[in-house]
């Protein structure tokens, strides 16, 4: 098994400004540790609650929030 030194899942906002779509690369959000060495299969978010949920091939569902 390959062991990775960095495991990260990122969320990038694609938005339309002045009629053009652009990726907000400077405003990316990171979920450090993610699901370890396993693939993240899905995610959803509740902006109003500042909550992000992820699920993965490690058999886990995780909740994420700002701060720490």
């Amino acid at each position: 098994m390959i062991v990775f030194s960095k495991q990260l899942f990122t969320l990038t906002h694609l938005s339309k400004d002045n009629q053009a779509w652009s990726l907000d690369q400077s405003g990316r959000v990171g979920l450090p540790g993610a699901h370890g060495d396993e693939i993240v299969r899905g995610f959803c978010f509740l902006d109003e609650q500042q909550l992000v949920f992820t699920c993965g091939e490690d058999g886990k569902i995780k909740a994420w929030r700002p701060g720490g």
Binding site: V29, P32, V40, G42
Partner: protein
């Protein structure tokens, strides 16, 4: 980069994959390789509120109608099930909705109709998109298209404002938009976007724009406007991996406030 912190988790037994998860009216649902549909509150530390056993051979899809408590699941035995999470007996219906394994599923925002797309089985020559009216007790088939795609149908989405417009993506490299009000299959495709790579995910970014993401992480935005009927990309980002410093793109989720979409990408280094 701004980092979030993990605040809770819920774990399945070893060797289970959690295949997907979605918001509902008051929580979350997941599907997993142990063939369960699980319901959660927003406080994951409570674990699943309900573990519902599904009967799809292999569960492939879960979709929530709007952000309601109505959930649809589908799988490789060609069946679709409809669940109402507010009810004690959650499963409302299960019916054979395709004659091949289902790889893609869409629900319109009003729970009036669902669409399913199939896998190209070995020895067969056709894939199908079937659209079902699921109002009332007995689902009825409204349309079936067998010539819109030539390989696995991996994605289906209803237009957010015009539920007669159905977007489909396939491993044949095309994203099509069909007008389901048109009865003649030869005339149903109103736009074709040739992404020229096997489609992993596709959808509507807004009322007038669509996206396609290939299995090799190539991403482009297409316009539904009439002056763009040739179907060429209005923005072609190419391979997202160098831009997002990632190894894979998991999915793209549309923001409900209309401000675009969130691209979720994973990195292992």
């Amino acid at each position: 980069m701004y980092n979030l912190t993990q605040v809770a988790e819920s774990a399945f037994p070893n060797d289970t994959y959690v295949l997907d998860l979605h918001r509902t009216a008051d929580g979350l649902v997941s599907i997993s390789s142990d063939q369960h549909l699980c319901q959660y509150s927003l406080d994951l530390s409570q674990g699943p509120l309900r573990r519902l056993t599904t009967n799809h051979e292999n569960l492939t899809q879960v979709k929530v109608v709007g952000h309601s408590s109505i959930v649809c699941t589908a799988g490789t035995n060609g069946t679709t099930a409809i669940w109402d999470l507010r009810k004690d007996v959650a499963k409302v219906a299960q019916f054979v909705s395709a004659d091949a394994p289902i790889l893609s599923l869409a629900c319109d925002g009003t729970a009036n109709s669902i669409a399913v797309g199939t896998e190209l089985e070995e020895g067969k020559h056709q894939v199908s998109i079937s659209i079902w009216d699921v109002r009332g007790n007995t689902p009825s088939k409204l349309q079936q298209y067998v010539e819109v795609h030539s390989d696995d149908i991996t994605e289906l989405k209803f237009h957010p404002a015009q539920p007669n417009l159905l977007l489909s993506g396939s491993t044949d490299g095309l994203v099509n938009v069909c007008d389901t009000n048109i009865a003649d299959e030869d005339e149903v495709i109103v736009q074709t976007f040739n992404h020229d790579a096997s489609i992993h995910h596709a959808g509507f970014l807004s009322l007038s724009d669509a996206f396609a993401l290939s299995h090799d992480e190539r991403f482009a935005v297409y316009s539904l406007a009439e002056e763009h009927t040739t179907g060429t990309a209005v923005v072609d980002y190419g391979d997202l991996r160098p831009k997002l410093e990632c190894q894979y793109v998991a999915n793209i989720t549309i923001k409900t406030d209309g401000s675009g979409a969130i691209i979720g990408a994973g990195a292992h280094e």
